[in-house]
Amino acid sequence: MDVFLDTFLNPAVLAKYAPAILEGAVVTVILSVLIVLSGIALGTALACLRAYRVRPVSALIVVYADILRALPPLVLILLFFFGLPNVGVTLSASLVLYVVLTLVLAAFAEEIVWAGITATPKGQWEAARSTGLGFTQALGHVVLPQAVRMVIPPLTNRAIAITKMTALGMVIGVPDILGQATTAQSFSANASPLTLAAAAYLVLFLPFVIASRWLEARFSGPGG
């Protein structure tokens, strides 16, 4: 038991590295917020663009969404981080992580919002158009708000899954929670920083996981 406490909850090690993990938590939170905002915005914009049903544009969007949903994010992170500098584009590790996860979330968000748009009853479109609204107005004021409402639970789940992937930044040296913890762990030769990191992730993400459970219960069931 003492070995266990000394290895995973060593008070001296915990106290020494808590500030570093906290700094990591700030990086994780900032990256997560930026990724969620820009990923969902980009994905929604793509889904709206697809609603105009211009064939080549829609085809491009589908191919983009399919590829980004089929590739493991870590592959993209390594490609961007190690491949781009050799063709003259050097991005910092944090920027690579932000760009890749935004693109991935946008691909999933596009598919989810598009599903919401196609699930909106045809009568809503027709009624909106018959009141004199243009296509863009009907989409923006009538269809999209209903579509987004419908897909809030899957969108929330996906956003949580992707923001958790900020931990992958550790592989290319982003000083996020996991990055700070693995550095601290190798300096201290003790596993307590990893315990602290796991706790930090739980504190950050558990509320959202529980909220998503609540959202699902609220938005499913009779009447949607």
């Binding site: 070995v3 266990f4 290895t7 995973f8 399919d66 590829i67 949903r69 089929a70 590739l71 493991p72 994010p73 870590l74 592959v75 993209l76 390594l78 490609l79 190690f82 491949g83 050799n86 063709v87 003259g88 599903a115 699930a119 949580i160 899954a161 958790k164 992937m165 900020t166 931990a167 992958l168 550790m170 592989v171 929670i177 996991l178 693995t182 762990q185 030769a189 003790n190 596993a191 990893l194 315990t195 990191a197 796991a198 992730y201 739980l202 993400f205 558990l206 959202f208 996981v209 529980i210 459970r213």
Partner: protein, 221 residues
């Protein structure tokens, strides 16, 4: 343009990397073959717990699921692989990956199977029991098949996520596909091996993603 071709689509380097990357693909598939059935089994147990009438069991199951849905899988993997040795428990990369992904996948499969179980009308189970079937028989022959059918697209897309998840095993030096490609990249200073791995992931997963999309549309309509 030439620089991009030479850096990302260098066929000579891809040809050299191919045997190692294909061997890595074998390991990727092996991990999936071990971890997906394990995750399904663990997920089923947790799902049954989360719809049970026993309050303690229900809360324990939901707690398990939420805990592992909130913890990034890479954190769990590094904790098991790099943390446990300090307490004297040294696991092989394969064992660490299996345990970490088992816990993570069980949580996700549990959530999907739970939704499936709840989607089966109560009367189905009651009718089965009244014909004299035992609780286990009812589950195996009546409730579970309907539950699985109702959430099949979600189960499949979670399987796709697991195939993608195996790439994390490269972080603990398990020689799966991404690890193999990364190794050749670090020797050649060229990103083409990574493009090769990306291409193989696409070949493997794109058809599955299309099929899932078709399933979802059929269920929606």
């Amino acid at each position: 343009m030439d620089a991009i071709l030479a850096q990302f689509f260098n066929l000579e380097i891809m040809a050299k990397a191919l045997p190692l990357v294909l061997k890595g693909l074998g390991v990727t598939l092996l991990i999936c073959a071990v971890v997906i059935p394990l995750g399904l089994a663990g997920g089923l147990l947790a799902a049954l717990g989360s719809v049970s009438r026993n309050r303690a069991l229900r809360w324990a199951s939901i707690g398990f699921v939420d805990f592992f849905r909130a913890l990034p899988p890479l954190v769990l993997l590094i904790f098991i692989y790099a943390g446990l040795p300090f307490a004297g428990l040294r696991l092989s990369p394969f064992a660490a990956v299996t345990i970490a992904f088992f816990l993570n996948n069980s949580a996700y499969f549990a959530e999907i199977l739970r939704a499936g179980l709840l989607s089966v009308p109560r009367g189905q189970g009651e009718a089965a029991r009244s014909t004299g079937m035992s609780a286990t028989q009812t589950l195996a022959w009546v409730t579970l098949p309907q539950a699985v059918r109702n959430v099949l697209p979600d189960l499949l897309s979670n399987a796709v996520e697991i195939v993608k998840l195996t790439s994390l095993a490269s972080v603990v030096s398990l020689g799966e596909m991404l690890h193999a490609a990364g190794l050749v990249r670090s020797i050649t200073y060229n990103a083409s091996p990574l493009m090769l791995a990306a291409g193989l992931y696409l070949v493997l997963l794109w058809p599955l993603i299309r099929v899932i999309g078709r399933f979802e549309r059929r269920i929606a309509s």
